[in-house]
């Protein structure tokens, strides 16, 4: 189902692909493509800011919000620091419950396991609810190439699947699209009237279209929001009810679960579910929070525990805390860079600040630009419900990118010059004089087309702070 359709323009499809330069994601180029449509950029920015404001309103209604964040962070850090024990505890409990537990070292193993399960049960039609892990593993194209029809059932994911795009946001996959875009896509694929762009009518059309798929599915695959070591059960959260339709109808249920999704006990669920929806959309609770402990009668339940780089990230002293993430996307919604560059510019399954912290660990060279796709304002860290120190980790990745020689040459040059100049007060002062002179002499037009592109260029100051201080304070005192 992932094939691209002839009706979609080449330019349109290309706008959803990452810009690659020499095999590396060029975030700045992707962002430039996105911001070429200024009105759409403003609209995207405002849509996400509205979600951020809803989050603020929801959080402010919970007096113990900050304590909840601290608890959630503590529970996750505890679990991660005993992860092997909790994984084996979860596995044993899940087996007792009647589930089959599989382990996958990487994406290829995950996909092979899913295919084996489907082949063993003669399933060629599968419905899928939102799972960033299966996106990360490239499951859809893998299965499509082997004759399995995979239908994404989250409305946003279905929209981008029909368009041959990747989700641009982990919670709102089609946030980059306008209603007219969705209308055109549905007209082409679902036969809605041309020009129909009413969200209600488009949603009803998708409801009918997907009901048929739910009713005829031979298997379903879901993600996992939280897995409980004590009970061997797991929680799947949706607003649409698509995960539940899949799970309650299909004879085979596969749950793909990253190993970092574990928490110790069922009593901890309250902490995370109180934070999750409020942080994600500003709702006090998502509509459906399903707790699966055992397969229903006549159903096979498979849980695939996936590493795919997570154990490596766990061993990185500076970055293991990123594994606390519960994928609420609050950091995306608040990020001034994400809001104005769009999810596709990141070229990774998870965009925004958390994506920029997770993906360099997978391929430092390919994602070297992402830690720089930030102003380091720290807004992400301030809203994170599990207190991931995102801005600090972004800064640390920058150092690693530069040390590994993956920084672009202007960045490398700037860092080298700054490294020398900042060690010598006299050199620093001398360079300041040169800088102010250059800024006065070089035509503004020249600067605007290079370094000054997209930046406000302030008039150079008359002198340095030190000169000012000597004149106004030292002498005066």
């Amino acid at each position: 189902m992932n094939r691209t359709r002839p009706g979609l323009g080449v330019a349109e499809r290309r706008s959803a692909l990452p810009v690659l330069t020499d095999g590396r994601v060029d975030h700045a180029a992707g962002a430039q493509r996105f911001t070429a449509d200024e009105a759409r950029t403003d609209w995207h920015d405002e849509s996400l800011w509205m979600v951020r404001q809803k989050r603020d309103a929801a959080a402010s209604k919970v007096p113990e919000w900050e304590e909840l964040r601290r608890l959630a962070s503590g529970i996750k850090e505890h679990t991660l620091s005993h992860l092997d024990e909790y994984l084996t505890q979860f596995e044993a409990a899940a087996r007792r419950n009647g589930a089959t537990v599989h382990w996958a070292r990487d994406a290829a193993e995950h996909n092979a396991i899913v295919l084996d399960i489907l082949r063993a049960s003669h399933a060629t039609r599968m419905v899928k609810s939102k799972s960033m892990l299966t996106e990360e593993c490239g499951l859809n194209p893998f299965l499509a190439a082997r004759g399995v029809e995979v239908v994404d059932t989250d409305l946003g994911e279905r929209i981008v699947q029909l368009r041959g795009e990747a989700p641009s946001h982990i919670v709102m996959p089609a946030i980059h699209l306008k209603r007219e875009d969705v209308g055109a896509t549905f007209h082409e694929h679902l036969g809605t009237p041309a020009g129909e762009s009413d969200p209600t009518r488009l949603t009803i059309a998708a409801r009918h279209h997907l009901r048929e798929r739910f009713l005829s599915a031979q298997a379903t695959i879901t993600g996992v929001n939280l897995a409980v070591a004590e009970t061997g059960g797991f929680v799947v959260v949706t607003n649409e009810g698509n995960a539940d339709l899949g799970m309650s109808l299909a004879p085979v249920h596969i749950a793909s679960c990253g190993i970092e999704k574990l928490i110790p006990r069922a009593e901890h669920l309250g902490v995370f579910l109180r934070l999750l929806a409020r942080s994600a959309t500003g709702q006090p609770m998502s509509v459906y929070s399903s707790h699966v402990r055992a397969p229903r009668r006549g159903q096979a339940l498979h849980i695939v525990l996936v590493d795919n780089g997570r154990s490596t990230q766990l061993g990185r002293a500076d970055f293991w805390r990123s594994l606390k993430c519960i994928r609420c996307a609050a950091c995306l919604n608040t990020c001034p860079v994400y809001r104005r560059s769009g999810g596709h510019s990141y070229g990774s399954t998870v965009a925004g600040p958390i994506g920029s912290v997770l993906t360099p660990g997978i391929d430092l060279r390919r994602y070297a630009a992402l830690p720089f796709a930030s102003t380091l304002c720290g807004s992400c860290t301030a809203v994170c419900p599990v207190q991931v120190d995102l801005d600090a980790q972004l800064l640390k990745w920058r150092a690693q990118v530069v040390q590994a020689g993956h920084a672009s040459s202007p960045k490398r040059l700037a860092a080298t010059v700054a490294g020398v100049a900042l060690q010598s007060p006299r050199l620093y002062e001398a360079l300041g004089v040169v800088y102010r002179m250059v800024m006065r002499l070089v035509p503004a037009r020249l600067l605007r087309n290079s370094w000054g592109k997209g930046r406000q260029l302030p008039a150079p100051a008359a002198g340095s702070f030190r000169q000012w201080y000597r004149r106004n304070r030292e002498g005066a005192a």
Binding site: S47, V51, P63, E67, R70, L71, G74, I75, E77, H78, L80, S81, D84, L87, N97, W103, R105, L155, G156, M172, P173, I175, K178, R179, V182, T200, T203, I204, R207, R211, F214, N239, E240, N242, D244, L245, S248, L249, E267, H268, L269, G270, V271, L273, R274, P284, M285, V287, Y288, S289, S290, H291, R293, R296, L305, D307, S311, T312, L314, W320
Partner: protein, 198 residues
């Protein structure tokens, strides 16, 4: 080495220094509960989530549900004192033609309007998601203030599945415009009952 053993060995080798598990129970106990009528808080949270709410005595339940359901509807009820128009199907797919699914929740949550439905109250589960409308009966006494208090009452060993439902199925995936009725029931009615006869 098997994938399982490789992963566990890698995790063991990568473990950060041990972090102590915070005491959630004590923390939760120290947070003051809001004052006032818990049922009112529950009802307003449920309405905010898009549910329609009705209140009646348990004795008047059948009549109250009947008033909310047009005669021509195909209804399935798993609530003993409410009759549906058809016998509950034992095949999940059969629920596709059902207009209204009527069941009973065991717990309500005042802070978010959610209701806990364990598998034992859901028959073959699919009714709660395939039927066009959902009607949930809940006893006024069975409302917990927050999720923590609700979870403390759930017996995990006896249920293979359970779900918190907060409002009807909805989506905002097209331009952030809220649409009620995504894949699951397009309407949710909550009937809050009082045990005492009024």
């Amino acid at each position: 080495m098997s994938a399982r053993d490789t992963i566990l060995a890698a995790v063991r080798g990568a473990r950060p220094a041990a972090v102590e598990l915070p005491n959630v129970t004590d923390a939760v106990r120290s947070w003051p509960l809001p004052a006032g009528d818990i049922a009112l808080r529950f009802l307003s949270a449920a309405q905010a989530a898009g549910a329609r709410t009705l209140e009646c005595s348990r004795a008047a339940l059948a009549a109250t549900v009947a008033s909310a359901v047009p005669n021509e509807w195909l209804t399935v009820s798993l609530v003993p004192d409410v009759h549906g128009s058809v016998v509950p199907p034992d095949q999940p797919h059969a629920y596709a033609s059902v207009d209204a699914f009527i069941c009973e929740g065991t717990l309500g949550v005042a802070e978010n309007g959610a209701i806990w439905l364990p598998a034992s109250r859901l028959g073959c589960r699919a009714g709660a998601f395939l039927a066009q409308h959902m009607i949930i009966v809940l006893d006024r006494q069975a409302i917990a203030e927050r999720l923590h208090e609700a979870y403390a009452q759930i017996d995990w060993a006896s249920e293979e599945f359970g779900i918190f439902v907060a409002g009807p199925s909805k989506t905002a995936d097209i331009e952030q415009a809220m649409v009620i009725g995504a894949h699951g029931p397009a309407a949710l009615t909550i009937v809050l009952t009082t045990a005492v006869v009024t």
